[in-house]
């Protein structure tokens, strides 16, 4: 379980996170959505310790993660745009991450073979297309069978087949009882993967509802329509 308490972060004058408090419950899969620049990635990077918050605390399994690093063992992170050392090959990157982790635990190789990374091990990272880089990121995120998966726009840039493979994998992991946080702009694909939905806007959390609650409240049967419904209502309230 992750508890985020009064998180604030500014980049210069720009307030990206404005006092965010949130609970991520274990064994649930969350969708974190919201317009561009609403602070989704900053929130995720705060959980990963890549962005240091100005105020507030993040508590993972009863202890604060600020200035800690060991906890990252239990997190699989797939970045929005994976940046990798350009002169290394796919094989090098995978070996290096394995060596850094230095665990004897069995490696989850499902995606390795599903994405057929074994055929392109000698390709340099700089020559890869955006989609192939995403595949490498996805494999690295799932590799050590982490309890918490943080996926920042996982299917953006993937072809339909690969995208389907990844979705299948996410659903399998969800059914195993993993905690999952997904950000995405493609609302239609979220339906089958998530159980709760967090909507962020301008550094605030607008709502945090389970899918069932959301559907009941809006009388819609699709997540995408339900969100549109809520946002329209919101817009209406703001304007009048």
């Amino acid at each position: 379980m992750i508890e985020i308490k009064g998180l604030k972060k500014s980049f210069g004058k720009l307030e990206v996170l404005k006092n965010i408090s949130l609970q991520i419950v274990s064994n649930e899969s969350y969708a974190l959505i919201g317009p561009n620049g609403c602070g989704k990635t900053t929130l995720i990077k705060s959980i990963l310790g890549m962005v240091i918050p100005d105020y507030g605390d993040i508590i993972l399994e009863k202890s604060s993660i600020l200035n800690q690093f060991e906890y990252r063992k239990t997190i699989g992170y797939m970045p929005q745009i994976g940046h990798y050392p350009s002169n290394m090959t796919i094989g090098h990157i995978i070996d290096m991450v394995k060596e850094i982790r230095n665990t004897s635990e069995k490696i989850d190789e499902d995606l390795f073979f599903a994405f057929q990374l074994n055929k392109i091990l000698n390709k340099k990272m700089s020559t890869l297309s955006g989609g192939t880089t995403q595949k490498v990121s996805a494999f690295l995120a799932f590799m050590f069978d982490p309890n918490l998966l943080i996926l920042d726009e996982p299917t953006a840039g993937l072809d339909p087949i690969s995208s389907e493979i990844l979705k299948e994998k996410i659903i399998t992991e969800r059914n195993k009882g993993k905690t999952i946080i997904i950000t995405s702009h493609i609302l239609s694909e979220l339906d089958e993967m998530i159980s709760r939905l967090i909507y962020m806007q301008e550094g605030n959390i607008l709502f945090d509802l389970s899918i069932d609650e959301l559907k009941k409240e809006t009388q819609e049967d699709k997540v995408s329509k339900a969100i549109a419904h809520i946002l329209k209502k919101q817009h209406h309230v703001e304007n009048y």
Binding site: F69, R72, Y77, H83, N87, V97, I100
Partner: protein, 255 residues
């Protein structure tokens, strides 16, 4: 941590610029010793060449390398590794790689032609100067996220220490030549790692006679064993403190 150092070293050793740097140092050292009959004269010439080149390559190469490793650092940060360890590993990796090319390029010829305390002192100075300027490059990288600005700061630092500082010292000397400023000059000299290194070698070679009265004061302060120790310590701090400051900033940086 050892693994990251290994990755960084492997990556740098493969780099063509480092290879070129090694060859350049080798060419200069062998060339100078080949042309000069007198080896101690040769070492003076080489000292000046080294004190110009080694800082330049160390600071510029390290700055560019760290900026280009941004992605690598990001990847490491998502793994369970402490930030300080990443930063220290990069420093040691760069240091080991550049020291290796210094020893291969300049260290070996120096020790062949001048197999004395003076020769080993030159090699140690080269290593320390490399460490100092890598340390400074780490500082300029954390000062700004902009690559162009960072490289600019590095070039300015090199220009300042390699060229401008001497000019400033000369200016001071002439302006205040009527006053007894010799003792102050000793402190001023400690403000530039390159000057510290130069004074160290000149004093050791007894070439301080060329520096006149100030040289005598320098000899009094730096020439003794204690002075030597202090000078080495000062160089060591020059290598350590900028790096520690940069580490502190890096630990709080958003990536």
């Amino acid at each position: 941590m050892l693994r990251i150092i290994k990755f960084v070293m492997q990556d740098i050793v493969k780099n063509k610029i480092v290879l070129f740097y090694t060859l350049l140092l080798a060419l200069l050292s062998w060339g100078i010793f080949g042309l000069e009959d007198n080896n101690s004269k040769g070492i003076l010439t080489l000292l000046n060449v080294i004190l110009l080149n080694v800082p330049l390559v160390s600071i510029i190469f390290s700055t560019i390398y760290i900026y280009n490793s941004n992605e690598f650092i990001e990847l490491l940060l998502s793994q369970p590794i402490h930030r300080s360890k990443i930063w220290i590993s990069f420093y040691l990796g760069l240091l080991l790689a550049l020291v290796l090319s210094f020893i291969i390029g300049a260290g070996i010829p120096i020790l062949i032609f001048v197999p004395s305390v003076l020769g080993s002192m030159m090699v140690i100075i080269g290593i320390l100067i490399t460490a100092v300027f890598i340390s400074l490059s780490f500082l300029s990288v954390v000062i700004t996220r902009d690559k162009a600005k960072g490289i600019g700061i590095s070039i300015m630092l090199w220009l300042f220490f390699a060229l401008l500082f001497d000019g400033l010292v000369l200016f001071l000397l002439f302006q205040f030549s009527d006053y007894p400023i010799e003792k102050i000059m000793v402190i001023v000299a400690a403000l530039s790692p390159i000057d510290l290194a130069r004074i160290l070698v000149l004093l050791y070679m007894d070439a301080s006679a060329m520096m006149g009265y100030t040289g005598a004061i320098f000899k009094q302060y730096f020439g003794s064993n204690l002075g030597l120790l202090i000078t080495f310590l000062l160089l060591f701090f020059w290598a350590l403190i900028p790096f520690l400051i940069s580490k502190k900033i890096f630990n709080k940086m958003d990536l």
